[in-house]
């Protein structure tokens, strides 16, 4: 299609700052979620580079103040989890879900705007600790009693700022999840039955249930910690009759489901991208829906696998459930692969990142079986092996998924394509950098290097692998340069996308790029989970099997 000019709807995105600050349009809010999350991604990334610079060789060279080192890795994880991955996926959900179900907006547009604006506020509160005598430094998990106003760990305002920020982000998430649930259940276009919803919508649905049920629980833990610290409470401090392990139970009751909050929507994106670039439907749609729901349900019964070494956990139950959750994850993996099989693959950048997700998340997923085995976990827990594992899930999985989604939906959001060459350069650098950073950490962990240490002995035998990880970390940072340049030039002069540049399957491709306010002038008939495919080729085209 030889479109040469942007759709007139693009003009509404050139509106003034006031319009952006006060908008209740889910598309603008979604874009602002994404931009906000990228800002925090870069902040979190710089903090990670600080950690890697310090660990590049033995001895304290870069972050010589060890208390600052603890603040830096605590902020890295907090920012990446709560201000990058979770809001980033919520942002894509915000943008995509109403479009994919044929709705004009989210169910509660003003609450939607409020959910968004709580996030930068929380980020500023969290990081302001750096200017106010120190941020939280007890790790992103902030286990008491370490986080209970203990010297050399948690005195000063940082820990309270952390609590405040997390409660704000949690409230934002809860409001967002209710908004998603109402939107998905009440605002689907005629014909869009539950089992015709795109998988992306299904993953946001299950994610929202997880968020709605789990987030209030961590909020309670945070409030109890705040009371302990500031009002003389005794919930978690054993020296005054509290129970330190109680916090861990409550914390992980949220924070393990949060792992699925951080990965399910990315799986949803992959499940949109693989079919489009294979020119085939997703293999096993219903199995995929059931697997997603299964992960959501099982996700609530595995939290204590983070606590196997506390000596205060009923081990067999949590071990069994953790093993079992591998099954629905495996079902998804095979369905993705069989979506590729006998397809006609076009290796555009979104597909490259999606394939990066498949091959890297595979490693993170299989690693989960090691931690599920309690005796093996005794060896691996709290070592760099765990750092490797979680990054293969959250970076190799979620972050690769985010970039896949960004390259895929950027044309819809802006009306212009991102440059393919720069995209491929970014992918290659990021893929190599990622593996160079995190693969060696498996080995370091097996050799006994604990997490969260500022330094290690030069005779410990960990020098070479740490250096490799640091080089890889800077390579990941370098891969962001072609990305930023790409966004910059493509916004100004990228190829005009047209309504449907990828031959997509779902409703967002049936409207203009960018879509007009309230999204659709007219909807195609919805007779399957691929209405735009049906419109293009006819329902039942290409034969069924």
């Amino acid at each position: 299609m030889a479109t040469t000019t942007l759709h007139p709807a693009a003009a509404t995105y050139k509106s003034g700052l006031y319009e952006w600050l006060t908008t209740t349009d889910h598309k603008k809010i979604g874009i602002m979620y994404v931009v906000n999350s990228f800002i925090f991604f870069f902040i979190g990334g710089l903090l990670a580079l600080g950690v890697r610079a310090e660990l590049a060789q033995p001895g304290l060279q870069f972050l010589t103040d060890e208390h600052l080192y603890n603040q830096v890795f605590t902020m890295h994880a907090t920012v990446m989890i709560f201000l990058f991955i979770i809001p980033m996926l919520a942002g894509f959900g915000n943008y995509i879900v109403p479009l994919q179900i044929g709705a004009p907006d989210m169910a509660f547009p003003r609450i939607n705007a409020m959910s968004l604006w709580m996030l930068p506020l929380a980020g500023v509160i969290l990081l302001s600790g750096f200017l106010l005598g120190g941020t939280a430094a007890a790790g992103w998990t902030s286990y008491p009693p370490l986080s209970e106003d203990r010297i050399l760990a948690s005195t000063g305002p940082g820990q309270d700022l952390w609590i405040t920020a997390l409660i704000l982000i949690g409230t934002s998430s809860i409001l967002g999840s209710i908004n998603f649930l109402v939107t998905i259940f009440k605002m689907r276009a005629p014909g869009m039955t539950l089992f015709r919803m795109p998988i992306m919508v299904w993953t946001v649905l299950v994610t929202s249930v997880l968020v709605m049920m789990a987030t209030p629980v961590i909020t309670s833990a945070l409030i109890m910690l705040f009371i302990d610290r500031n009002l003389g409470g005794h919930f978690f401090d054993p020296s005054t009759g509290g129970n330190a392990v109680l916090y861990q139970n409550v914390f992980w009751f949220y924070s393990h489901p949060a792992v699925y909050v951080m990965v399910l929507p990315a799986m949803g994106m992959i499940s949109e991208i693989l079919p489009t670039f294979s020119r085939k439907p997703l293999f096993g749609y219903k199995a995929f829906v059931f697997a997603t729901a299964g992960i959501g349900a099982l996700g609530f019964s595995v939290w204590a696998h983070h606590m196997f070494t506390t000596g205060a956990v009923f081990l067999p139950f949590f071990s069994l459930m953790t093993f079992l959750i591998a099954v629905p994850t495996g079902v998804k993996m095979f369905n993705w692969i069989f979506t590729l099989v006998r397809g006609q693959l076009t290796f555009s950048t979104p597909l490259l990142f999606a394939l990066g997700f498949l091959s890297m998340f595979l490693i993170g997923g299989i690693n989960g079986a090691f931690s599920a085995s309690v005796p093996v976990d005794y060896a691996l827990h709290d070592t760099y092996w765990v750092v490797a594992h979680l990054h293969y899930v959250l970076f190799g999985g979620s972050a690769f998924g985010v970039f896949a989604g960004l390259y895929y939906w950027f044309p819809k959001m802006t009306g212009r394509m991102l440059d393919e060459t720069l995209g491929k350069i970014q992918f290659v650098l990021m893929f190599i950098g990622f593996n160079l950073t995190f693969f060696p950490m498996h080995v370091l962990g097996l050799q006994g290097m604990p997490r969260r240490i500022a330094d290690y002995a030069s005779g410990a035998g960990w020098n070479d692998l740490n250096l490799a990880a640091t080089v890889g970390g800077f390579l990941i940072a370098a891969s962001m340069l072609p990305f930023l340049w790409n966004v910059f030039v493509s916004l100004r002069s990228g190829k005009i996308a047209g309504d449907d540049p990828w031959e997509g399957n779902t409703l967002e491709w049936a409207t203009s790029s960018p879509p007009p306010p309230y999204n659709f002038d007219r909807l195609p008939e919805i007779r399957s989970e691929r209405p735009v495919f049906d419109q293009r080729h006819g329902h039942g085209a290409g034969g069924h099997k």
Binding site: L60, E66, H67, N70, A137, A138, Y143, P145, L146, R150, I151, L152, A153, P238, S239, A244, V245, S278, R279, G284, Y285, T309, G311, S319, L324, A326, V327, V331, N335, I337, F338, L340, R342, G343, Q344, L345, L355, L358, L362, N367, A369, F370, P375, V376, Y378, A379, D382, T383, V443, L446, Q447, G448, P450, R452, A454, A541, G542, G543, H544, K545
Partner: protein
């Protein structure tokens, strides 16, 4: 619409051959270069650790086979099904296959059920805690040091305490090989974790809870020392919470233990032996820092330091002296925050030494002692 099965073209066969050869080369390369060694934990030195290692090996090889199988499937699909020029007709729109779904649900379920069962068996064996072990030790973990109380047969009474945790400072947790040692873990402050990589084992030290575990070091390991360290973030000094496990023959252990008990019974009189004090210096700790970072004394004359600890009561400090090689020349008892004491030190030959707080051995609590 049914489609006839695609004939396997020569290019497909070549593709499969290339994949097989590449994978084979990668696997052989991995084995030959020692890459695979990095995929395994160290050889265990305890009975329990060896059981964990056997279990790890099973889990690893099953995982490795699944990984290679799935990754090859991905790479194969990517190479095999790329869109060729002129391929405009849609591929067959396969929506799923129920038999395949059942297969890839049931087979993984069987695999993880097997892994669960063997993990549980190993767990029951390594987590077993004896009613009357051969040796009771209580490890006390606190910010940022380990202390080992050797207990009587009742598991309660302390016979003597080893408060130097690493062997390069002349301490460490000494245990006889072949004996069933039961370690009790307690913490007066925050959560720590006892971790010795060569045990392939760690256990949290949770304030308010006494965790216990048993271990038996293999007889062949007598004379070896195993480095361990705290594995649960416990504050700024987390990384310095090192410990050593010193494995001894039973005879050596008995001799070491007897000497320790005798030492503990004797009246400690180290300061009295220092002789008359030539000079008294002053040092203060505040905000986990020494206010004076360099001190100077005369060679071959005993001296003293008036030491004030101005930190909160829960923060103990001391002023030890170490030689350039890190060996401890003077080991003083700690004092709590808000108190003061006078430490006396025996004469030292001329040279440069380090004075340091053994609880917080960071740059802020390290100074230079010049003796001339």
């Amino acid at each position: 619409m049914s489609s006839s099965p695609r004939p396997r073209s020569a290019s497909d066969l070549i593709l499969i051959a290339i994949l097989v050869v590449t994978m084979g080369a990668l696997i052989i390369g991995a084995l030959a270069t020692g890459f695979m060694d990095g995929m395994f934990p160290p050889e265990a030195v305890t009975r329990q650790g060896r059981e964990i290692r056997s279990l790890y090996d099973i889990v690893f090889w099953i995982a490795a086979v699944i990984f290679v199988f799935v990754e090859v499937l991905i790479v194969y699909s990517v190479l095999r099904y790329r869109r060729k020029p002129g391929q405009d007709e849609l591929p067959v729109q396969t929506h799923g296959h129920n038999v395949l779904e059942v297969i890839w649900t049931v087979v993984p379920t069987v695999i993880v059920a097997y892994l669960f069962v063997i993990s549980l068996q190993t767990l029951n064996s390594i987590d077993a805690v004896a009613k009357s072990p051969d040796i009771h030790i209580r490890a006390v973990a606190q910010q940022f040091r380990w202390q080992f109380d050797y207990l009587a047969e009742d598991g309660v009474t302390t016979l003597f305490t080893e408060d130097v945790a690493t062997s390069d400072q002349g301490g460490g947790m000494h245990v006889p090989v072949g004996a069933n040692v039961q370690l009790q873990l307690t913490s007066p402050d925050v959560i720590h974790a006892f971790y010795v990589p060569k045990f392939l084992f760690k256990r949290d030290v949770v304030p308010g809870i006494t965790n216990r575990f048993d271990f038996t070091i293999d007889p062949a390991e007598a004379g070896q020392t195993f480095r361990g360290q705290c594995a649960e973030l416990c504050g700024t000094g987390h990384r310095v919470m090192l410990l050593d496990v010193v494995a001894m023959t039973p005879a050596d252990y008995e001799a070491w233990k007897a000497a320790k008990i005798e030492q503990a019974g004797a009246t400690p009189a180290p300061s009295a032996s220092a002789g008359p004090v030539a000079v008294t210096l002053e040092e203060t700790a505040a905000g986990i820092k020494f206010t004076t970072k360099s001190l100077e004394v005369t060679a071959d004359q005993a001296f003293a330091i008036d030491f004030k600890n101005e930190d909160p009561a829960s923060v103990p400090h001391d002023v030890d002296i170490r030689a350039a090689d890190g060996s401890v020349l003077a080991d003083q008892p700690t004092i709590d925050g808000g108190t003061a004491t006078t430490y006396t030190y025996a004469a030292l030959p001329a040279g440069t030494y380090t004075f340091i707080c053994s609880v917080h051995p960071f740059p802020d609590m390290t100074g230079t002692l010049t003796v001339k």
